[in-house]
């Protein structure tokens, strides 16, 4: 195992906790806008106007009246709605920005995974809250889909941890000094990015918000509630793209240009690939995704982990 020193420090220790947290949150929101703009550009074929569109529709949602339903579980509904953007921003805490994370722990990858797992509760609560059948169906669909994507996603994160010999994201970036992890773990990379689309119930995994159930968990949302959910989802997709660039594409490594620019370019590339590919796939049914994930993806990711573990033991990553 390579001995990696965690002496790079954190953003919080350099800039102070509050300024660093604000910067990281702002970067998260910008990444969310980037994802929304890319999504809009791919769907409508617009150019620059696609960049303004998320802001315009966001403002429109802010002014909209809040929708009310009969006998909602208001407490759980609001908790779920607030949780989506909050956990999305919290996941940003362990994404390396300019080579450093907001805070650095010995279990960064598990932290990222845990924030994503909190969506299980948040999205189900969003479905449960309004006391409406389509909304609740969407919540249940998300859990069914969660059973499918969670294990492959965890295995892909474990693979990264095995190769780096550490769960700290800055260590993972440092461990890719010679070779990007995507070269030896392409399956884990694809599963990680696909898992992002799945836990953000976006693209081919958007069944929880499907048109066949009138929008599912979003069906009873309007105004601020809708904005929080959609923005949280976009921020999560952006954060995962930045994380994928750090975990598999060498983070800020690259010639000539400064490190942060490279990381941004790679993040944009991942977002572009995700949106361009995801918008070309049909909507997948959660019950079918489960079998696909368990019969195909779990063995594949396990095999990937085995290959990487053998390479790590033989000193390939040292």
């Amino acid at each position: 195992m390579p001995e990696l020193a965690a002496d790079v420090g954190t953003l919080a220790s350099t800039w102070g906790v509050l300024p660093a947290a604000l910067v990281v949150a702002a970067v998260g929101v910008l990444l969310g806008v980037l994802v929304s703009a890319a999504d809009r550009a791919v769907v409508t074929g617009q150019g620059v106007r696609a960049g303004v569109e998320p802001l315009r529709s966001g403002m429109q949602l802010l002014l909209e009246q809040r929708r009310r339903t009969l006998a909602p579980d208001r407490l759980l509904w609001r908790v779920g709605g607030a949780a989506v953007p909050v956990v999305a921003l919290l996941s940003m805490a362990v994404v390396p920005l300019a080579g450093r994370t907001l805070w650095s722990t010995s279990a960064d990858l598990v932290w990222f995974n845990a924030m994503e797992a909190l969506l299980w509760a948040a999205v189900w609560l969003m479905g449960w809250g309004p006391n409406a059948v389509h909304s609740l169906t969407g919540g249940y669909r998300f859990l069914a889909q969660g059973l499918a994507y969670e294990l492959p996603l965890m295995f892909s994160l474990i693979t990264v941890g095995v190769a780096a010999g550490s769960l700290r994201s800055t260590d993972v970036v440092a461990a890719q000094d010679g070779l990007w992890f995507v070269v030896t773990m392409p399956v884990a990379f694809v599963v990680f990015v696909g898992g992002a689309a799945a836990f953000a119930f976006w693209g081919p995994f958007a069944a929880p918000t499907g048109a066949d159930i009138a929008g599912g968990v979003t069906s009873e949302l309007s105004g601020l509630d809708r904005l929080l959910l959609l923005a949280g989802r976009a921020v999560f997709l952006g954060a995962t793209a930045a994380m994928a660039a750090a975990l598999f594409l060498g983070g800020d490594a690259g010639p000539w240009l400064p490190g942060p620019v490279w990381h941004l370019l790679k993040t944009v590339a991942v977002v572009a690939g995700l949106v361009w590919g995801g918008r070309r796939l049909p909507l997948l049914r959660p019950d079918r995704v489960v079998e696909l994930a368990w019969v195909v993806l779990v063995p594949l990711t396990l095999l990937q982990a085995l290959v990487v573990a053998v390479l790590a033991v033989s000193g390939f990553y040292a």
């Binding site: 279990a107 598990v110 995974n113 797992a117 509760a121 969660g146 019950d287 079918r288 019969v295």
Partner: protein
């Protein structure tokens, strides 16, 4: 006696109190969904306490596992409720006298134990990477135990599924198990 700063001690007390309050809320609220997520909030407060103690791995694993567990539990609890979909208000307690007695006894025993035990003080320094230390402690000398527990848990899951499913292989592949394709109400995702 302790290496924690006063802020950390305050945070621990607050998180501990939150955990107890949410734990009590499980029995006070009148909806299965609220009870489930009050329990999750209690677990998340525990995860927060672990975070304050700088046991990051244990904290995030607690948050991760308990969230998924509670989300799945919500589905089952609501599914198995006596009233349709568990949507109507209902009491979260039954066998009140027995459970109060059992709860109070266990609480008293635990509190007495916590205050009676002569807890050891830390020798040496906090390890650089407690996650690695924890992994070595669990997977090193206790590997056999962990393997047996893992397989036992997996066997339990399989047995539970086999007992719960209403359709066995004879329903799927016919009385002589010779059907080329299983007869399923919903076809799976890999074309079977």
């Amino acid at each position: 006696m302790t290496e924690l700063s006063s802020i950390e001690v305050t945070a621990l007390i607050a998180l501990g109190a939150l955990a107890v309050v949410f734990g009590a809320a499980v029995f006070i609220v009148d909806s299965m969904a609220r009870a489930t997520f009050a329990l999750l909030a209690s677990f998340l407060a525990i995860a927060g306490a672990l975070l304050v103690l700088d046991l990051v791995y244990l904290a995030v694993v607690t948050a991760l596992m308990m969230t998924i567990e509670m989300a799945v539990m919500a589905v089952f609890m609501i599914m198995f409720m006596m009233n349709p979909a568990g949507l109507m208000p209902m009491s979260m307690v039954h066998n009140k006298r027995g459970s109060v007695l059992a709860g109070a006894t266990v609480f008293a025993v635990l509190v007495t134990g916590i205050w009676m035990v002569d807890w050891p003080t830390r020798r040496g320094l906090v390890p650089e990477d407690p996650t690695r230390q924890l992994g070595e402690a669990i997977m090193g000398s206790h590997m056999l135990v962990m393997l047996v527990i893992g397989i036992a848990l997996f066997g339990t899951i399989l047995a539970g599924t086999v007992l719960a499913t209403s359709r066995g292989r004879y329903d799927r592949f016919g009385p002589d198990l010779k059907a080329p394709r299983p007869d399923d109400p919903v076809r799976g995702g890999v074309g079977r």
